[in-house]
Symmetry: C2
Subunit: 146 residues, 2 copies
DNA sequence: GTATATGCAAAGGTTTTGCACAGCC
DNA sequence: GGCTGTGCAAAACCTTTGCATATAC
């Protein structure tokens, strides 16, 4: 399935007049097979594992290209910026500041939050762009118990 | 008023056995008079304007000390980490990705959001830790008009 | 006097950029 | 063949750290 995703992206880049190099192929295929988010550094490691010698600057430049093409988007998590597939939008990220656990809000929940913010400010939030930090249920229990 | 805040902080640091140097005095006074958030770099500029020669590492170390003492907290905005007074908690930050405008949710609104998230996951969010990105009302209008 | 805070310099990490060369179309 | 993409190296940031010195208490 991610193979097909990668194919589609390659097609789209072609249509935009962009060139498909071996590096781009590997980068696209890696990031399209990634569930959720990945940092540029982590992506670089994976890509270099598959095609040694790919330079970090190529990773960054390709990520920009893909973001401009609407294929990717980035979000801010505790550790910095991470990239995810644009079609994976709606993933509102919950990150536990104590144990690092990660969870996502459902689309319905995200909608409810969005409407709440929208009503009071006319502000249209993109809740996917920043994570939501806090304490997961388990850590809350442990803290109140201990 | 911010003078009194700074006094209180200095008192608190004293009680903790921390020393009050001229550098710390200026840093504390600058950050206590700051409404909202400020980046370490921006703070450094201000402090150095008032007391030339203060090293950046002193700024960072003092920010850490103040955060550990519970006086400050940091939040993640588009441009990176920024510090704000801990008592200014509850400031949920709305940042327009188009024009850069900034706004805050009211405490009631923040509570409503928090409860919504809490109900569905047992996750206790700290909505102040990351900003909420999106489009402000004005930019939405301009975009739909243009 | 002693423990702590500072300045300085260096290192660390991530991301960007200029440039010559390679390679896609 | 021409233009785009890549690697390399350097730079630009931001932040941290080790160490000698200065200084608050």
């Amino acid at each position: 399935m991610s193979e097909q995703l990668a194919e589609g992206v390659i097609e789209l880049l072609r249509q935009r007049g962009l060139r498909m190099t071996p590096q781009r192929r590997v980068i696209v295929s890696e990031i399209m097979r990634t569930q959720g988010h990945i940092s540029p550094t982590a992506l670089a490691r994976r890509v270099q594992g598959e095609l040694p010698g790919v330079n970090a600057s190529t990773i960054y430049r390709t990520l920009s290209v893909l973001e401009e093409a609407g294929v990717l988007a980035h979000a801010h998590l505790e550790g910095g910026a991470e990239y995810h597939r644009a079609e994976d939008a709606g993933h509102v990220h919950l990150a536990c500041s104590r144990c690092g656990a990660e969870d996502d809000l459902s689309l319905d929940e995200a909608d409810a939050l969005q409407q709440l913010i929208e009503q009071h400010h006319g502000f249209l939030p993109d809740l996917t762009h920043f994570a939501i930090s806090g304490l997961c249920a388990e850590c809350r229990r442990e803290l109140s118990a201990g």
